[in-house]
């Protein structure tokens, strides 16, 4: 596609339920990032993929959070047993390369707004 696509755009879920958030990166982009942004706050790094591997999972806030990427393309962020503090916008970004010394332009999706009630 032309840009990074995320789905759903909005998700309301009950506390304790599991949710899956999907990210379709730009075709050919090897690097993929997930961020969380709470209302009025900055971007909180969650996880980074290079291809299908996740060399950096340091940002995942708890073991309720997991992510995978397949085919060096689609990524899914899963939150188990959701809590109200998980409410936020979850943003995905992709870039053509991440290894090396230069920051490459990253393209962000519109995000998934998750509300846990």
């Amino acid at each position: 596609g032309a840009g990074v696509s995320q789905s759903p755009s909005n998700k309301v879920t009950e506390k304790g339920k599991d949710v899956e958030l999907r990210c379709d990166p730009i075709s050919g982009h090897t690097a993929l990032y997930w961020y969380r942004q709470r209302l009025g706050q900055g971007l909180e790094f969650l996880i980074y993929f290079q291809g299908n591997s996740a060399p950096d999972k340091s940002g995942l806030p708890s073991d309720r959070f997991s992510a995978e990427r397949t085919g060096e393309s689609v990524s899914t962020l899963t939150i188990q047993r959701t809590q109200q503090e998980d409410s936020a916008v979850y943003l995905c970004a992709s870039s053509s390369t991440a290894l090396g010394t230069a920051i490459t332009e990253a393209f962000f999706g519109q995000g998934t707004r998750l509300t846990v009630v």
Partner: protein, 114 residues
């Protein structure tokens, strides 16, 4: 990880030039400096990137002094539509694992006033 420090907020009138300075005292030799812009309810978007001296594109200019411990994003003649949060990022690499992340700080909230 190289950290960045920016002002939390800035106000400017329409038509003025706005300069937002970012401090990155621990920048590494191979790090680049990148700025992103985020409008409400949207993901951030790339504005400009540089290594040293001055870089200019159709949107902004980026000034980087010789010691590279800071950088200044310059927006010429801002308009109301430039109201957004601006993030300064410094390229960072874990030499051991080869990992990399785009580390966003809190950003600078620019409000353009009519």
């Amino acid at each position: 990880l190289a950290k960045t420090t920016q002002p939390i907020s800035m106000d400017s009138y329409e038509g003025q030039e706005v300069n937002i300075t970012c401090s990155h005292n621990n920048i590494a030799t191979n790090d680049y400096i990148t700025w992103y812009q985020q409008f409400p309810s949207q993901g951030p978007r790339f504005i400009i990137q540089g290594y040293k001296t001055k870089v200019t594109n159709e949107v902004a200019s980026l000034f980087i002094p010789a010691d590279r411990k800071s950088s200044t994003l310059s927006l010429p003649r801002v308009s109301l539509s430039d109201t957004a949060v601006y993030y300064c990022l410094v390229g960072d690499r874990d030499s051991g694992a080869g990992s990399y992340q785009l580390t966003f700080g809190k950003g600078t909230k620019l409000s353009v006033i009519p």
